[in-house]
Amino acid sequence: MSRRYRAFGLTLESELDLRLPEAASDQPADVEVRLRSGDTDFPELPYSLGKITYGRAGDEILVRVPWAADFRVVKDGITIFPAGEAQPLSLALYLTGLILVFHLRLRNLLTFHGSAVAIPSGALVLVGNQGSGKSTTAAHLSRRGYPVLCDDAVPLVPGPLVMPGIPLSKLLPDAWERLSGGAPLDPALWDGVDKYQVPLASSQESRRLSAFLILSPQESLKEPERRLLKGREKFTALISHLQMISGLDEPKMAFEQLTDWLKNTPVWLLSRPTHRDSVDAVLSLVEEIITEAGK
């Protein structure tokens, strides 16, 4: 039994149950997700992310997650060959959290590591180093009427448009507790490492890129500050947050596309204190940026 889902602006028809918004059954599928049994004949895969290995073979991307599955990825389909004991939920989380990001490489999208929210003028993309509060800020913004467009991977296409991604925000347990006041969560939403994948108010429409916001925690700060970056500074501050996957991404194409978009896109740096009491002050500054993006 297959179901149809929406992610990254694509319709997926999947034999595996996915934690994604469902699509209308009459919507044509862009990507077919199939489950197959048996061993694969993958060659040695030259690239790695930890113990996960991958590589290109002609028009295909091959990915091996040794404890979960082998994945064969082509533009219009993903075939999953599960490992012996792999659970369907685990396969589904790898598919949406990793394999779809690989699949975007076959569609020439640029992907940022960050979160995005829908704002009146389009989309605000939040980036920052690990632990800078991207997902948490996006989750708080969703509670203030700015639906989450993507979390973790933010895909952009020429326009530039931000494509809707996976509507599950990855939150640390204490971030969820502060956001929800301690409401219990389904244990199945635990990613098995350190975060919950939490469904929040989300949007499934692609939206024009309005602004980038770089979150930067600074221990010495007492109050958050915002600053509009200019020239080469906005490029150098952003480029490290672009997801470049060795062997799959073309750096020259990414450079040319990103610098072209930056000519007309404001980039804000928001430095914030590390203490938790600063959340409201940070959100006030973000809302000022959202207002300015609409002018």
């Binding site: 200019k230 020239g231 080469r232 500074e233 906005k234 490029f235 150098t236 480029i239 750096p251 020259k252 450079f255 040319e256 610098t259 072209d260 930056l262 000519k263």
Partner: protein, 87 residues
Amino acid sequence: MITLRSDISHTELDGELVLMDPGSGKYFGMNPTGARMFALIRERGTLAGVLDALVLEYKAPREVLERDLKKLVLELKSRGLAETDEV
């Protein structure tokens, strides 16, 4: 003669320049004066030609402009982005 490598990608942002060396995947930035010098090197291709244009555009003394231009060309050369026998 100063010859910039033909495969360099570069873009102007707010009067400044960012460029990428596709060979190494490294990025470089230049302030507005550096960006103007880079554009003139592409247009004129010689130290003297670039310097003559800079003298007309900037109020700084010729010696200062020449020193800054040579510094930039040397930097480009040391990073493998330009070839020249002029510095």
